[in-house]
Amino acid sequence: MVIGNETKPKIGQSYVEAVRARFGNSILDETWQAPDQVTLTVSLNCLPDVVEMLYYEQGGWLASVAVNDERPLNGQFAIYYILSVEGNGDEAPPAEKAYVVVHAQIPPHQPEFPAVTPKVPAAIWYEREARDMFGLQPIGLPDQRRLVLPDDWPDNLYPLRKDAMDYRFRPEPTTENETYDFIQVEGEGIVQVPLGPLHITSDEPGHFRLYVDGEHIVDADYRLFYVHRGMEKLAESRMSYDQVTFLADRICGICGYAHNVAYSTSVERALGIEVPERAQFIRTILLEVERLHSHLLNLGLACHFVGFDTGFMQFFRVREKAMKMAELLTGSRKTYGVNLIGGVRRDILKEQRLTTLKLLGELRQEVTTLVNMLLETPHIVQRTQNIGLLEAQVARDYSPVGPTLRGSGFARDIRVIHPYCAYDRVPWTVIAKEGCDVLSRTLIRAEEFFESVSMVERCLDAMPDGPVLTEGFTYKPFQFALGYVEAPRGEDIHWSMLGDNQKIYRWKCRASSYNNWPSLRYMLRGNTISDAPLIVASIDPCYSCTERVTVIDVRKKKATIVPYKEMERYCIERKDSPLK
């Protein structure tokens, strides 16, 4: 089955040929969703080998894994490993860049599949989630703990199975206690420091446990998903496919529009809808406006955590201009809600354009002053250089995204690798740094801010006239495709399959922080606990406000609960350790 675009040259054919050369008969099917998106159906037993080959030999990065209950369609469960395959960087001419999706079917009478994690560590969270949500056992996965479902959720109830439950139903809790099995770190003098359940600097609760020897972090473990909202189930059950754009806006309070565009483009690609040029430019402009306010927020927090609160206030004052810009262009400071399937609902008029250009000029000038001030603060380099190291090899193994990855020497940005919207029509530069530390990640955000300002200016200048919305397309059942956006924190990937009832059959959305969390453990190791909030903030997670922190002393075998405010104070002042 080949869908549309037969005439356009296929990008990624060489990877398909390489896989066929090695695995030949195990490749059961090949379908193209877009000129640079191919889905290969492989037999279940060679799934890990195919993914490993694409990941390590062909320069693949694990973008997402979508699981789908396709029993009503063909009697099988399906699992899709979505890889962005980009070559190893030493090819001449440069390797082609494509999304290669490795798909395998899992029979319902034997709901298990060979785990990919032992070969490609980046799959760890996805496979734990597949077990939680669909009851598919990854055979050979070392971590047997739940990821998404709470401890009090009944066994054998897998919420995303089509026959499992009504989306409004919440089963009775099965236990009163927290039964999550945090990793055990044994050793002379190690202390556990639990941070959370309400965690560090954020909007979402998470339970962190730091294992410390004196002041030094030996290891870290964390449990998140305390506020899982069941959005995928809600979208599949109640909403029509064109309403889901508004739900996607609400996935994140900071980068909601990125999710919105990722969802819309996934559906547009699946249905073969051409979005008008002008709408592509408007989307690009709004995505960059969103990056402006998000990066300013993180820079403000960076000031706060090194004890430079005046800087924090100043960054937030200036950020208000970016918020006003969004309000002017979309009618709302957040949750822009301007996307429809097929384009956008609001055009940018001359007056709005002029006001935006004026605001951009002011932003560039004021932020330049503030960033210089931040870098001249004596503490900043001392507190952030060589702190929270994310080694290049760990980054390669875990597929982190966004400034977290680019801070470890990989100049990888979806806007360049898989250009969408109008990113290939205006000139700009990808920012990457070699330091692997908190400082690199912060500097990347500062430099990207100025790139975004220029990009909005160039888009406003270059945008063509014309319609902003394509209407009158046909809804085709059971088509699927990927949508992707480089959000401020990294790529957001949406995999959508349409149903046959004006709904979405399956919507797998993966936010950027999901790929960044698993590598955080390695960034925390070897640092002191006073740096922990700084390191967590440096991945700019979709994070929640920590109220308290648990510290476990390995030497004294003693757990101490430290109020989060106290941890934060210690991070800022670095005296009077709460552990003494």
Partner: protein, 177 residues
């Protein structure tokens, strides 16, 4: 340090003393939806488009009443209702100050009379919706005879229309025989 102090002094006060002074929103801001019950024809297009089900329509066939209601507590201010409304009865206002002491104040509703079918007497559609269609027909430039025929159908419920059609078809076949 000096630079910082200079910057702080240059900027001065960045906040305003809200709520004693009002906050201006940008033109085109999407705030609390405003409903004009005079213009509304209770067609339910808004309720179908509304992503969070903040707008709902309930129909009481015994009393012959259709109720349009909005619960602002669920509203996401997307403005889809404004876009799909055929009569411009809903517009998003600039009002963002939505705190209330009583939850009931977040509800807004309007009742519309339903028309009864000329044949069977069952309630089937809002009177105002029928009037709206009638007005459209008058402006559509159809011949008077044809428009009169179509307008006669406006007062009949879908079930009776179907029955009539079947009767007509059967009649046609009988004539043939």
């Amino acid at each position: 340090m000096l630079k910082l102090i200079r910057e702080v002094l240059r900027v001065g006060e960045a906040t305003i003393s809200y709520p004693s002074k009002p906050v201006e929103v940008m033109p085109g801001f999407r705030g609390k939806p405003h409903h004009d019950p005079e213009r509304c024809i209770a067609c339910a297009a808004c309720a179908i488009a509304c992503p969070p089900n903040a707008l709902t329509i309930t129909t009481d066939l015994d009393q012959g009443v259709r109720t349009w209601s909005l619960f602002v507590g669920r509203c996401i201010y997307c403005g889809r209702c404004e876009e799909v409304c055929p009569t411009g009865a809903i517009t998003l206002s600039q009002d963002f100050e939505l705190a209330v002491a009583d939850k009931q104040d977040l509800y807004d509703h309007a009742d519309y009379k339903l028309a009864a079918c000329r044949i069977c007497g069952t309630y089937f559609a809002p009177v105002k919706e029928i009037e709206y269609v009638d007005a459209l027909l008058q402006q559509s430039g159809l011949s008077d005879d044809y428009a009169a025929n179509v307008r006669a159908l406006l007062e009949i419920c879908p079930a009776c229309k179907r029955k009539n059609d079947v009767r007509k078809m059967v009649g046609l076949y009988q004539e043939k025989d």
